[in-house]
Symmetry: C2
Subunit: 334 residues, 2 copies
Amino acid sequence: MAGVVAVVGVTGAVGQEFLALLAQRAFPADEYRFLASARSAGKTIAFAGRDYTVAELTETSFEGVDIALFSAGGSISKQFAPIAARRGTIVVDNSSAFRMEDTVPLVIPEINPETIDQHQGIIANPNCSTIIGIVPIWPLHRHNPVRRMVVSTYQAVSGAGARAMTELLEQSQDVLEGRPPQPEVFDVPCAFNCFSHNSKIDENGYNIEEMKMVHETHKIFHDDSIAITCTCIRVPVLRAHCESINLEFENPIEPEEVVDLLLGAPGVSLIDDRQGNRFPMPLDATGRDDIFVGRIRRDLSLPDRRGINLWVAGDQLRKGAALNAVQIAEYLVR
Amino acid sequence: MAGVVAVVGVTGAVGQEFLALLAQRAFPADEYRFLASARSAGKTIAFAGRDYTVAELTETSFEGVDIALFSAGGSISKQFAPIAARRGTIVVDNSSAFRMEDTVPLVIPEINPETIDQHQGIIANPNCSTIIGIVPIWPLHRHNPVRRMVVSTYQAVSGAGARAMTELLEQSQDVLEGRPPQPEVFDVPCAFNCFSHNSKIDENGYNIEEMKMVHETHKIFHDDSIAITCTCIRVPVLRAHCESINLEFENPIEPEEVVDLLLGAPGVSLIDDRQGNRFPMPLDATGRDDIFVGRIRRDLSLPDRRGINLWVAGDQLRKGAALNAVQIAEYLVR
């Protein structure tokens, strides 16, 4: 059994997904503790046939807690995850706070579960776009090393939280009724629009989301030599990301080989019906665990049959966040 | 003066944009003739202070017509453009019917206006995604040849016509009110969703839209050697396309050079504010003539400073269709 499990940030979009997954997967906890900011403390949460009261997250919240699932933003993680870890709680942290630290395993259970055991109290959950993109690339990379990736994302608003999802719906209603949309979470309108990811732009011209995909992929694949360039874009979709992925391999590769490798890959489902023109869509991935892959075809622009194009869709709140963390917790319990 | 100008398919989304542009640009026609299918014939159209009656398109519609702007779909163009051309009308055709024919110039006035004079009665307007993508690439390519392009599109529904735009709005309302969306124009829901472009998939795994971008770019640039791979995706946006473009050049190139080349380029505007995180969006491009370019940065995944990433947005109905055709007509009149 898993003992006492805490969920930090339980009222957020990922927090709510934690609850759904822990119940659905019958996570073997003896007891739960649901934590959030003072603003949300006192709220009642119905979970697995019982009512729980949300407690305020404080420095003493982790007494007796065995595993804590954190998803309350980077600054909360930075402050409270080390406190929890110091008292013996194993933290699975969904923020970016500790991902690139040498002593913190950065884990996708389908790719590098063996690194979980090296933890020193904190295990990091990768960025959603990284997870959704590389779960299907890993079985290909092991078979034939990927030398270069060119990725363009089509990201749902859920990555910016539950409030962003409401904002998309409200703005859509505004536009339909002829009112100007009122951006609050984002700086620009999200309804019927696309925009460059809302994270800060680095001196090299890339936003933080794009550089996360580069650095996290290197760490998770244990291979800094893969050349990666990303363009991260938000689209008016609620909770599933898509990515257009162009791959250059070390050796020639056939689209049929890619299909075969992905058919048996954990966490991957194919939707690749050329005749019916049916390929992965955010609506296919919504509420689903797998990463959906399609549009598998040779990149005709690369010589020597070394290029492949893919199109993937995955639920940002599930495999992109809560599910991956729960899978790590399940590994800890096993 | 331009004599008599016919607009074929005047009641469609592009047809309506033709009217707006011809009025706005005070196109020097002596007389207009507005043509459409029997279904739309008899409708009244207010244009430049006068009421016009839409006439049914027939084989005799082009008597006395000097220039005909066609946007009524490929099969109408195939049937009627040769009839018009035979009787001396110069056809500017927005469909894909004649684009790849050797005797038909395929023209973007900012790129290859000199080919207009070679027409034999029909001049083709390129595909919207081709135009929006390559208007800003041309000044770069002339300065330093582009050797490879990896493009992912974020295409508005307007490319599928006025009915698709209504469908996006209606489906959005359905979703907001908890009803399942009812796809009609597209096979799949378009509201709050993304999907692979609705054109037929070729044996090589590419859809027709993607191969148009390859072949048309080769023809317009007069250079078949550029390696191009595209992924064409529809997003829930009304009328402006975006494209994520990765370029590999023959020689090293600096992002600052790209900015300088684009600042003076016809038909191009920059929105590239890294500090303010403001880059081109469909809402910026809507109703505007220029292609907007931003996110100009070095592709860190290519050696020898030969890679550049760009993000562009352009109005699909304007520069992607009607405006480009009207510009060709203006060249003919000049």
